[in-house]
């Protein structure tokens, strides 16, 4: 990594990048684009997003701060931060290869071998090699450490049997980061887990698409039936799986990592909801003249501001003395539940038009709000349900006993 850039260097870079994104950010492609990397449903969407990611990479605005010997730009992370900011500023499409550049990439750069770095990093950045994540199983959703997919060593190969589920991009990925069980021995359930960088084109791997609540596709169930992968796909040693998986989840939570850049989820702007309310009518008058709707809107504004303040406060030691981890551990719960309630509220602005859904020509904002509300459950369920989150806060912050 290069040394810290001067303000002048950053300003020059920003001017160039700003011009590039202004010029090159695609306008409406004429079909619906996914809000997140988890809802890629059609070939058209997939190819469009691959092409966009490749274009951004080739212009130098993705992986700008990754090592140049593996395909990155070799620049200081401040440059990539600027590029990502501009990507958002011009409301560009999301980066498709989230699992690759967000999780697998940082992991491989962090603890991978030289061969792994040479083999995988560039393909992640230019969207040649799409990645997916194989952690959750049909019988082990919240209880990740109990993963049961079996990996048995047979000469120079591992033989895989079992199933993974909720695998975003699983039907289009070339590789999977896979948590599998190599042993049932050991002091606890975690000790028998191992971590693989597994090719998805191995014979015996099949995927079945799962249609979501929103009507979109994007994730699959993967079936492994005597699927054979090379032994060199094992990352680290047998038994390292849990440790590596936890490290990966740290990247997922955005911890101290040199990210490749880009963003994977479209953000809902709080003021967008206010704008929708302002444009909406109720009984021939502006919706926000209705005291009930106005009061609920104020309540949401207070909630949004509280989370904004919480995020500032959690970094201010003297203001979190009594329960230092409280704000951090409640954040996912508070934020995802607020988004669910706010998007649900936005549906009620629309009067009869609240009955339309995505792709009807009369749907408000082409059904964006309905899709956002239904999609909000992916966050209140995925990554540990809100109910699990409440247990975590109750047990780890408030010190309440674990249920047995």
């Amino acid at each position: 990594m290069s040394s810290r850039p001067t303000p002048a260097e950053l300003a020059e870079y920003e001017a160039q990048a700003d011009a590039w994104f202004r010029e090159n950010t695609p306008k409406d492609p004429g079909f619906m684009l996914p809000l997140t990397f988890m809802e890629v449903s059609t070939d058209q969407q997939f190819e469009f997003l691959c092409a966009w990611q490749r274009k951004v990479y080739e212009a130098g605005y993705l992986g700008a701060s990754w090592p140049s010997e593996y395909g990155g730009g070799g620049l200081h992370p401040d440059f990539q931060r600027i590029a990502t900011k501009l990507m958002k500023k011009y409301d560009g499409p999301i980066m498709l290869n989230a699992i690759g550049i967000g999780w697998a990439g940082p992991l491989i750069l962090d603890i991978g071998s030289e061969e792994e770095k040479q083999k995988y990093i560039k393909g992640m950045l230019n969207a040649e090699d799409i990645w997916c994540q194989g952690f959750s199983e049909p019988e082990n959703g919240s209880d990740l450490g109990n993963a049961q997919l079996k990996a048995v060593r047979d000469g120079e190969e591992y033989v895989l049997n079992g199933s993974k589920i909720w695998t975003s991009l699983g039907d289009r990925a070339k590789y999977m980061i896979l948590l599998a069980r190599t042993s049932n021995e050991g002091p606890n359930k975690y000790a028998g887990l191992s971590f693989f960088l597994a090719p998805m084109d191995a014979p015996g791997v099949e995927t079945r698409r799962i249609k979501k609540l929103t009507g979109e596709y994007g994730f699959v169930q993967c079936f492994f039936t005597d699927a054979r992968i090379p032994a060199e796909c094992l990352m680290g040693n047998e038994g390292d799986g849990w440790k590596i998986a936890m490290k990966t989840l740290e990247y997922e939570r955005g911890a101290k990592v040199n990210l490749a850049g880009g963003y994977f989820l479209k953000e809902l702007d709080a003021m967008g909801v206010v704008e929708l309310a302002r444009e909406s009518q109720r009984g021939g008058k502006p919706l926000l003249d209705d005291p009930v709707m106005k009061d609920r809107m104020v309540d949401f504004m207070m909630d949004i501001q509280a989370l904004n303040l919480n995020n500032q406060r959690r970094r201010m030691g003297p203001l979190v003395q009594d329960r230092p981890m409280g704000l951090a551990l409640m954040n996912k719960l508070a934020r995802t539940e607020m988004i669910r309630e706010l998007t649900e509220f936005s549906l009620s602005f629309q009067g009869t038009r609240g009955g339309y859904y995505v792709d009807d020509p009369c749907a408000v904002d082409n059904g964006y709000w309905h899709r956002s509300y239904l999609n909000s459950f992916s966050a209140t369920i995925g990554g540990g349900t809100s109910e699990i989150q409440r247990n975590i806060v109750a047990e780890h912050v408030l010190g309440l006993p674990k249920g047995r």
């Binding site: 504004m301 501001q305 508070a334």
Partner: protein, 381 residues
């Protein structure tokens, strides 16, 4: 789907703190814990005075009455931001004293008093003489501009008429600052305790038994012309008084919410039913977690209100958000505290009742959550 506050955050205040604030927070945390254990709180409920004069003197000696008073008037020269963490710890330990009302009376003097009035009263308040406010009336309106009491010129001075309610700690106050109208215009008036006949004060029976409050009949009380605060600034001073009150209430309420939650958690960790600690049941565990989440949000709002207090625009929004969210959080936490203590929760011996009553008191004074939200709606949309 992710979420961004977008440009909403630009319209609202942020968070920050001063070193003095943190020092005062630390001192107040141990002081209030040591001086106000719960058995003492309960003992003082049955005491006519309602607070311990010895503890009051210690508070005075710590300089806390002068925190937001300029040095020129004997104060420390800091701001309301530094007062808030003290009020928070007082609310947490249910340490009832005239601290808040004295602090706000001083702010009223600063907002609308002339040099002579400030010079006379501010040093006395800093030195521990009690000053209080007489702003609310039998009509029960939270709008402080709704004033029916009046002052009429008579000879060299004015004669007052009307009734004021919820004049806290009036019995032991040296000074009462009342809102009246003079020829139809709002005016703040200084009434010395010596001008108030004993029969004019009636001790009110209030929901929060740890506090003391009085009804004040103004009829026939006379004040000199020099006791009226500035005509031009009295109206805006009322606005500042309302916000200062809301800030200190929000702080007290956050402290109370924290205690209501801690008290309940302790019970959930020790009480067993059907062979299990009741804290293992998610029917209890999840609502108390929701109460905790609401508490942390309310505390962030309160700290932001303290930090932005007095800032044009964002200050008022932050304070009203703080009071509204503190009301919501305190009411819910204390309500669940009663319920989760089961049969014991229904008794007067259970501390949950103290918090529940305290929350109702605070909601009733200077506006509840819905009142402040309606004010926010006008400010935001």
């Amino acid at each position: 789907m992710a979420f961004s506050e977008g440009n909403l955050a630009d319209h609202l205040g942020g968070l920050g703190y001063s070193e003095e604030q943190i020092e005062l927070m630390d001192v107040a945390t141990s002081f209030c814990r040591d001086k106000s254990p719960i058995d003492k709180v309960r003992k003082l409920i049955n005491d006519e005075h309602g607070y311990d004069p010895g503890v009051w003197q210690e508070i005075v000696d710590l300089g806390w009455l002068g925190i937001a008073v300029p040095e020129a008037h004997g104060g420390v020269g800091l701001s309301m931001a530094e007062v808030a963490p003290i009020a928070e710890q007082m609310g947490r330990r249910l340490l009832a004293t005239p601290f808040a009302t004295c602090t706000i009376a001083a702010q009223a003097l600063l907002a609308a008093g002339d040099e002579a009035q400030c010079a006379e009263w501010l040093p006395r308040i800093v030195a521990g003489e009690v000053a209080t406010l007489a702003l609310t009336e039998p009509h029960g309106d939270w709008n402080l501009g709704h004033v029916e009491a009046s002052a009429k010129a008579q000879g060299e001075g004015y004669v007052l008429s009307g009734t004021k309610q919820f004049v806290v700690y009036a019995q032991h106050a040296a000074l009462v600052i009342a809102s009246v109208t003079v020829d139809g215009a709002l005016r703040l008036a200084l009434i010395e305790r010596s001008a108030i006949p004993d029969g004019a004060l009636r001790r009110e029976i209030i929901i929060d038994e740890t506090k003391r409050s009085y009804e004040l009949t103004l009829d026939g009380i006379t004040i000199p012309a020099s006791a009226l605060l500035d005509a031009g600034r009295s109206g805006s001073a009322l606005g500042q008084i309302e916000l200062a009150n809301a800030l200190l209430q929000a702080a007290e309420m956050c402290g109370g919410t924290q205690s209501a939650i801690d008290y309940t958690i302790e019970y959930l960790k020790t009480r067993k039913q059907f062979g299990k600690l009741i804290g293992e049941y998610q029917a209890l565990k999840h609502p108390i977690t929701n109460a905790y989440v609401a508490y942390e949000k309310a505390r962030s709002h309160m700290l932001s209100a303290a930090h932005n207090f007095g800032q044009q625009g964002v200050g008022e929004i932050a304070v009203r958000m703080a009071k509204a969210s503190a009301d919501k959080a305190y009411s819910f936490a204390a309500d669940r505290a009663v319920q989760f203590h089961g049969g014991f929760g229904f008794t007067h011996d259970c501390d949950a009742g103290l918090y529940r009553r305290s929350a109702i008191w605070h909601a009733s004074q200077y506006g509840d959550a819905a009142w402040h939200r309606s004010k926010l709606a006008d400010l935001l949309f």
